[in-house]
Amino acid sequence: MSLLTNLIIASVIIGFAGYEIYKVAQKSKKGKCAACDYKCEAKMMAERAKRQNG
């Protein structure tokens, strides 16, 4: 594996981690249900209904 591949893989991992931290910070600003870390059935259904109606 070349140095470039090593660097690319490491960057992808670090990039994903950075994105997750950014996402948590954004979600936390919303508070309430939106801050919950997993998409429960109810949340998915609410989103679907929102899409259907809106």
Binding site: S2, K32, D37, M45
Partner: protein
């Protein structure tokens, strides 16, 4: 598309019914206040959307979450109302049913928990009920799916216009009828509202419904606004209530049939005599929690967890390392994957057995009906310090996750009491803190793991209550609201409900491992492998060491002498589980056994306990801070919560360490 609004009193099994009707799953609990926002789902292969609304006792909202239901009726054009009632408590439940029937939309009343009713030796003649109430009445037992199929078929196979429109007209006193006619006629004539809606609106207006009165002002309904003083002066509200109550009593008397014995009710009252006993109640509550921790730390959880850990730190780590070497991965990438991700994320995942056992225990307590008793028992303690037992429900939910705990505080009517509950919620030990407790109790208190964890949990409760008392004095909360909790009958917990409850809660933990715990682990790996001079091989020259060592003098008085622990505490703000994964990364190990041995050199039992107390109380996680901000509507309270909790955590762990050191 047909919309079915699911409405009813709290704790009537609406959410269970919703899950079964829609083949979906939303959080279910055997106590008041579980549904705080509306949930939507559709019945499979149909265009029928079911909306689960928070439980209410009447359409006149007292709390913030109760207004969701009435606002839904006013703002949405619902086709059918499915009124879920507790067949056992029909007298009270029908008060809401009358208001819904007066609304004029087709109503189906589901007499839920019908088996519980039969066990009390009473049954109602359905035809009589249908005739008196003028709507369809179905019996269900959502817990074991009885009657659900019939109810679903009814909804699926009958077009909306085939449902009889509710047409309940109660025999209100003459003066009310006269005013009702006057107002309705004017509303219909001058404001183009339908007669049914006008009638309902007027009755609700007479009944001092806050939301309806706002709605009337907003639309400038003069026939109502001009008469408000008269309605109030003549005490129409009381008269309406009395008429409804009389109607319900007559209806139930004419429909009542007596059936067999009442063994369940006898059993419930026998159990309650013991578990809600003024003297025994509290020790039993503590004992149940102790048993819960025994199961998760000593008997089931930890042994399973140890095996998972051995598998992860042995074969998985070694194999990954060899594999990465063989494909030519460079040392820094191997370190990131093996010492970072596998050690950190994997390390946290090995705690799943403990967490699942604890969640299963909580689900059993919720489903059996004990939680409502726990609230009742603690109410006595809360009363003694001038607090309301209702605050205990959000607090106990906070054991799972502080965010949901704070959301549940919406069920508290008084704004000041609600704010107090929101502020003290983060002191409840959420499940994310379990992994770090588990590591430390295994290292320092192997023989008393459950007892130490129990003490940490109760310390959280004590701090929360003490702070609540403090806030009460500061905010001058004088009036004491009455705490009313419905005590459901006990029933044997059902396996599928327990499993779903446990899985639903554990799923969140697994998901977090793939997102925020992963991110936190990579962050701490970066901080411990990079320093001002770039990539470092000696961790003592890394950013994390610099940060930890800079703050070390502040932490020495509370017994923390390792900079690694301080750096780990910082990442804990992302999510509390990250503290454990950070420790794994910072101490360069994938094995809990090695980590435990390292702890032995850095901490004493007393400094370890002080650290656990610090972790219990210091800064809430990001999500909790965000929720405090959104629920209180102010950044000020969120910032206050962060700083006050650091102060309390520091002060308490300081006292524990200093006083403890004198004796040890």
């Amino acid at each position: 598309m047909t919309t079915v609004a699911l409405m009813g009193n709290p704790n009537t099994g609406k959410t269970t019914l919703f899950n079964q009707l829609t083949d979906s799953y939303a959080y279910v609990g055997n106590w008041t206040g579980v549904t705080v926002e509306k949930k939507m789902g559709s019945i499979k292969h149909t265009k029928i959307v079911v909306v689960d609304l928070p439980g209410i006792y009447s359409l006149n909202p007292i709390t913030k979450d109760e207004s969701v239901a009435i606002n839904y009726l006013l703002e949405n054009d619902t086709d059918i109302i499915l009124n879920v009632t507790n067949a056992n408590q029909l007298k009270r439940n029908l008060l809401l049913s009358i208001e819904l029937l007066e609304f004029g939309k087709p109503v189906i009343i589901a007499l839920n928990m019908i088996d519980d009713l039969k066990r009390t030796g009473v049954y109602y003649d359905i035809q009589t009920l249908e005739k008196r109430l003028g709507c369809i009445v179905k019996t269900t037992n959502a817990r074991n799916h009885d009657g659900i199929e019939q109810l679903r078929d009814k909804l699926k196979n009958s077009p909306v216009d085939e449902f009889p429109t509710a047409n309940l007209k109660l025999d209100y006193p003459k003066e009310i009828k006269k005013e009702l006619n006057l107002a309705t006629t004017k509303l219909v004539k001058n404001y183009q509202v339908s007669e049914k809606f006008a009638t309902w609106l007027t009755i609700q207006f007479m009944n001092k419904n806050k939301i309806v009165r706002q709605f009337a002002s907003h639309n400038n309904f003069k026939p109502l606004l001009e008469k408000a003083d008269l309605f109030d002066k003549e005490k129409f509200e009381e008269k309406i209530f009395q008429t409804r109550l009389n109607f319900i009593e007559e209806t139930l008397t004419s429909a009542r049939e007596n059936v067999s014995s009442s063994s369940n009710i006898q059993m419930t009252s026998k159990i309650d005599k013991v578990v809600t006993n003024p003297i025994l109640g509290l020790p039993i509550f503590v004992a149940i929690f102790y048993l819960m921790f025994k199961l998760s730390f000593d008997w089931i959880g930890t042994p399973l967890s140890d095996q998972l850990n051995a598998f992860l730190s042995g074969p998985i780590s070694n194999y990954s390392n060899t594999f990465l070497k063989s494909i030519g991965a460079m040392p820094f990438l191997r370190s990131l994957i093996v010492d970072g991700i596998i050690a950190g994320v994997g390390g946290v995942l090995t705690f799943i057995p403990q967490i699942m056992v604890l969640f299963a225990c909580i689900s059993i307590l919720e489903d059996s009906g004990y939680m409502a008793r726990a609230a009742l028992v603690t109410d006595r303690v809360m009363q003694a310090i001038g607090l309301n037992g209702k605050a205990f429900i959000p607090l106990i939910i906070g054991f799972g996750c502080n965010v949901t705990g704070i959301m549940a505080a919406r069920t508290i009517e008084q704004p000041k009491e609600r704010l107090i509950t929101t502020l003290i919620s983060p002191f409840m030990s959420c499940s994310a803190r379990l992994p770090i407790y588990s590591l430390f109790v295994a290292a320092f208190f192997p023989k008393n793991q459950a007892l130490i964890v129990l003490s940490i949990y109760f310390l959280g409760i004590i701090v929360a209550l003490a702070m609540a008392k403090f806030y009460q004095l500061i905010f001058h909360v004088k009036e004491n609201t009455v705490f009313i909790v419905e005590l459901p009958q006990y029933h044997l917990p059902r396996f599928d409900i327990i499993w779903r409850g446990t899985w639903d809660k554990s799923k969140g933990f697994v998901r977090k491992a793939g997102t925020i715990i992963f991110a936190g682990t990579v962050l701490i790996w970066l901080l411990s492998n990079f320093g001002p001079s770039g990539f470092v091989t000696n961790i003592d020259k890394s950013f994390s060491a610099m940060l930890g060592q800079f703050l070390l003098p502040l932490f020495v008085p509370i017994g923390i002498t390792s900079w690694e622990a301080i750096s780990a505490l910082f990442t804990g703000i992302l999510a509390k589980e990250v503290i454990s994964s950070s420790m794994m990364v910072l101490f360069h190990t994938t094995s809990q056994t090695t980590l435990i041995a390292t702890f032995g050199q850095l901490f004493t039992p007393i400094s370890a306990y002080a650290l656990l107390v610090f972790i219990l109380l210091y800064v809430p996680c990001f999500a909790t801070i965000g929720t405090i901000k959104s629920e209180t509507g102010s950044t000020k309270w969120a910032v206050y919560s962060v700083f006050s909790s650091i102060l309390i955590a520091y002060a308490l762990s300081f006292v524990i360490f200093q006083v403890g050191s004198l004796f040890m």
